[in-house]
């Protein structure tokens, strides 16, 4: 009686979970629905005198395998969702037809078969309980299968390593080595590191070259990637070209700063 109730409660949930997998737009939702189905299946296993399998189902399948799926989904992009538009002509119709055909055929066969209305049950086959009996079978009758499965697991590990693991083939210099190299090989001016970008009078940003103490802008202060992308400001923009008027003004005394250069005080702190 209890089993019947369990079945009629959990079976629809299992089917819903399965449908969720097929209809969810986001892969994460699909994976979670599948986990739901698997947990219901685990309950069915336990109900059908297979407690060991029920536990393994939850621990290995739902716990390990589905988590692996989730990891990969994260890697691929959690947010990506499938468009609902079918691009292959006739695919949905063909799929529906084929799936319905298979359901009808197989269900027809199963329902028509004269199966015993009550199962024999495993009480006789497993006098010492389920787990010892399974252990007996795995390490007795099916020991060769058990041994061969090892090949499968090694293959999986080796395969995953070959396809995804990038071995570091060349020695990568450490920070210490880099700094020693800078001192021994680089120009003495760079020994203390490159100048930090940003012109503090009008800008304070990575796309702006630093002005060296002599007032010239330094190209080395800007990230090369920005230059390559064309996102950096030209150093020319900041080069100071003294005009005759400037020289004259400079001779009069440094009172007349250009307009807009007043925020010098804000950017005065050098890190």
């Amino acid at each position: 009686m209890g089993e019947t109730a369990l079945f009629w409660i959990m079976a629809p949930i299992a089917v819903l979970g399965a449908l969720g997998l097929v209809f969810a737009r986001k892969a994460v939702h699909g994976a979670l629905s599948l986990a739901l189905t698997m947990i219901s299946l685990a309950l069915f296993y336990i109900a059908q005198e297979a407690p060991f399998l029920g536990v393994v189902q939850i621990v290995v399948y739902t716990g390990a395998i589905m988590m692996l799926f989730l990891f990969v989904i994260m890697l691929v992009g959690v947010d990506s969702s499938d468009s609902r538009v079918e691009t292959i002509r006739g695919q949905r119709a063909a799929a529906t037809l084929a799936v319905l055909g298979v359901i009808v055929l197989l269900t027809g066969v199963t329902v028509r078969a004269t199966l015993p209305s009550e199962p024999t049950g495993l009480a006789q086959a497993t006098p010492d309980g389920n787990v010892p009996a399974i252990a007996d079978a795995i390490f007795g009758t099916y020991v060769w299968a058990f041994e061969v499965v090892a090949a499968l697991l090694i293959t999986a590990a080796v395969g995953a390593m070959t396809l995804t693991h990038r071995e570091r083939l060349f020695h990568r210099p450490t920070q210490k080595e880099l700094s020693i190299k800078r001192f021994t090989e680089g120009p003495p001016g760079e020994a203390a590191g490159l100048p930090v970008p940003g012109v503090y009078a009008r800008h304070n940003a990575v796309d702006t070259p630093a002005l060296l103490p002599d007032g010239t802008p330094s190209e080395a202060s800007i990230n090369r990637v920005l230059v390559a992308r064309g996102a950096a400001r030209s150093t020319e923009e900041f080069r100071h070209h003294p005009t005759p008027a400037d020289i004259e003004a400079g001779a009069e005394g440094e009172t007349d700063e250009p307009v807009g250069g007043d925020d010098d005080t804000n950017g005065g702190e050098r890190a």
Binding site: A50, Q57, F69, V72, E86, A95, G121, L152, L153
Partner: protein, 99 residues
């Protein structure tokens, strides 16, 4: 309880899994659908094991889980590789080989 109920449930789950392979573009979902099919088969095995009163079906189900674990690793590795080169996990995008 009548084994037929479990079997019909397993057939339905199997077919839904097959449908998933057929209609879902996302390689991960298609692959999860295959896992659903394997699970459905396992349910049948467990049901039949109980029906016949021998453990063989449960043993098969156990080994299927092991095999599935290995298969998942390999499959996900292939999918990740494809994703890294194409930035897409859609099986429809992988259709250069044809005719």
């Amino acid at each position: 309880m009548n084994p037929t109920n479990y079997l019909v449930l397993s057939i339905i789950l199997f077919s839904i899994g097959a449908a998933g392979v057929l209609v879902r573009r996302n390689a991960l979902i298609a692959f999860m659908s295959v896992e659903l099919m394997l699970n459905a088969a396992n349910l049948s095995f467990v049901t039949f094991a109980r029906m016949h009163g021998n453990l063989d079906g449960q043993i098969v189900a156990f080994f299927v889980m092991v095999v599935a674990a290995a298969e998942v690793v390999v499959g996900l590795a292939i999918i990740v590789t494809i994703f890294r080169t194409r930035r897409s996990a859609s099986v429809d995008d992988a259709s250069l080989l044809k005719l």
